[in-house]
């Protein structure tokens, strides 16, 4: 179905386990003189190869610590892979953590611009979408209240409304479908569904195999940083269920 939107070739991501723990000069100097400055290599991702064509909905499954979030971060451009190449064609909307860019002292309205700018949207675009975002998040009454006084549900709703205001080419979902109360959850699912139905490409991380079967057409399973299974969503889901039973 069309040309590849995301091409991941031999991507590997290595962390230095010891290195990560030293974040101050004092420890560094002490360890340096004690000769303890050797690093433990840890590959969070290794030899990852896959392509996602336009319109594909790819599910990424795996147990905790399998490297799912790292993979999403690499695709979203937050992390640079230690090896391999990644080619992305088009606008990515990462719905990884909603509201991470909010400033608590800023009001809801101000945060629309701030968070939108963090996501790389322009002022003109945000101005044109402002009313839509406010009404979708159902925060009309509270939009001039500082976000620090919001409940976590309100914050998530605003974050979701801003992040989905674009029409991206690639949508990255990291278990964000559980936003707010049951009512808003339904609304957000509807919104995502309508975005998916326009034929955009989706990367979806979840443990919920029913949801994956509903949304995705392709799936991969990660284990210890490697792809152990890839293919049709339903088949891979069944395999995953088998895997978790063990």
């Amino acid at each position: 179905m069309g040309k590849p939107v995301i091409a991941v070739e031999n991507v590997g991501m290595m962390f230095n386990l010891n290195n990560e723990k030293i974040d101050n000069l004092k420890e560094y100097v002490i360890k340096f003189f004690k000769g303890k400055l050797h690093y433990n290599e840890f590959w969070a991702l290794k030899d990852i190869n896959f392509t996602v064509d336009k319109g594909d909905r790819l599910a990424i499954m795996g147990l905790n610590g399998a490297g799912k979030s790292t993979l999403l971060k690499v695709v979203a451009g937050v992390m640079k892979p230690t090896q391999g190449v990644l080619k992305v064609d088009g606008i990515i909307a990462p719905l990884i953590e909603l509201g991470a860019g909010f400033d608590p002292n800023y009001t809801g309205a101000e945060n629309i611009y701030l968070y939108g700018a963090t996501m790389g949207y322009s002022r003109k675009f945000l101005r044109s979408k402002h009313d839509e975002i406010v009404s979708f998040s159902e925060l009309e009454e509270f939009i001039d209240v500082p976000v620090k006084n919001y409940s976590s549900g309100m914050r998530a709703r605003l974050g979701f409304a801003i992040a989905t205001a674009v029409s991206p080419e690639v949508l990255i979902l990291d278990e964000v479908l559980s936003v707010g109360d049951a009512k808003f959850k339904k609304k957000s699912e509807g919104k995502l569904r309508s975005m998916i139905d326009t034929g955009i490409t989706v990367l979806f991380v979840s443990h919920n195999t029913d949801q994956i079967k509903k949304i995705c057409n392709k799936a991969i399973i990660l284990e210890k940083g490697r792809i152990i299974k890839s293919g049709d969503a339903c088949e891979v889901c069944d395999e995953y269920i088998e895997m978790t039973k063990k």
């Binding site: 937050v78 002292n105 790389g120």
Partner: protein, 278 residues
């Protein structure tokens, strides 16, 4: 989002900057707005704070260093010029230093060009600095109108933009450099605080270097401080109304450009590792 993993050429960098320039202006706006939002006196703090510290310094050092009228001309103005510059340098670099960690939640979750954070902090502090220059104008106006101080304004006052511009370059360079260092060594912050205290005494804020009868090596150390040249240039234009010593210009400009290049280079080389440390 453009693909960051491909080899990024200069043109791409520019495109990326243009894409995120709205974020830059939003962050600058935010820093300035929030600074004053919850204080009763609001923007007046920008005037009041340098004015009050100036008074304290006049009280403490006035009798010792302020008597040599030929060298300091007008001690309150002399103090204020030095302190405003010192304050901008330390405040902006300190804010830039902490900026990556302060915004760690964003840097970890979304792709943003990371230099935006130190840069926006430097620019917002620069705006506050420009506002606080009004205090200098007020103090100078007061002394020129109501007292018979020998201070006078000359066209050289317009040249004061040159030392201010050099100062901005220096702050940017140092800010980027220590922002990187702070990511890798969290306790660098405390070291830098101590360094800033040292810098306060090393910069001729309340004294004049020539006045002090120092030995040559000590003098050289004091003059090696780029803030010495910048403050001196600024005072030549504003306070003494004359052309600056060109040695100051070349030295300050050279050092500032050096730090700018070093700061950006170190930041650029290390920015992909930030996420592993914050």
């Amino acid at each position: 989002m453009s693909n960051e993993v491909k080899k990024v050429t200069g043109k791409k960098y520019l495109q990326n900057f243009l894409k995120y320039r709205f974020l830059l202006s939003e962050l600058v706006k935010k820093n300035i707005k929030l600074q004053y939002r919850n204080s009763v006196l609001g923007v007046f703090w920008t005037f009041l704070q340098p004015l009050l510290t100036m008074l304290v310094l006049v009280l403490v050092f006035g009798q010792v260093f302020g008597r040599d009228i030929a060298r300091v001309l007008n001690y309150p103005t002399y103090l204020l010029t030095g302190r405003l510059i010192y304050e901008f340098f330390t405040q902006s670099t300190k804010k830039a230093m902490r900026s990556i960690r302060t915004n760690a939640t964003i840097v970890k979750k979304v792709y943003v060009p990371k230099y935006i954070y130190p840069l926006s902090n430097i620019i917002s502090t620069f705006v506050t600095f420009l506002i606080s220059l009004t205090v200098l104008a007020l103090v100078m106006g007061y002394y020129m109108i109501f007292t018979d101080t020998p201070m006078r304004l000359t066209p050289y006052v317009f040249l004061s933009v040159v030392p201010i511009f050099i100062l901005l370059i220096l702050c940017l360079g140092v800010g980027m450099l220590i922002a990187t260092l702070e990511v890798f060594f969290r306790d660098f912050e405390y070291l830098y605080d101590v360094f800033c205290t040292l810098l306060f005494y090393m910069t001729p804020i309340f004294y004049d270097v020539e006045q002090m009868h120092l030995s040559v090596p000590v003098k050289i150390v004091l003059m090696a401080n780029p803030l010495y040249s910048i403050v001196s240039m600024f005072r030549s234009c504003v306070l003494f109304g004359e052309m600056w010593n060109w040695n100051w210009f070349f030295y300050a400009f050279g050092i500032s450009v050096f730090f700018l290049a070093l700061g950006f280079l170190v930041f650029y080389k290390k920015q992909d590792k930030f996420i592993l440390h914050i």
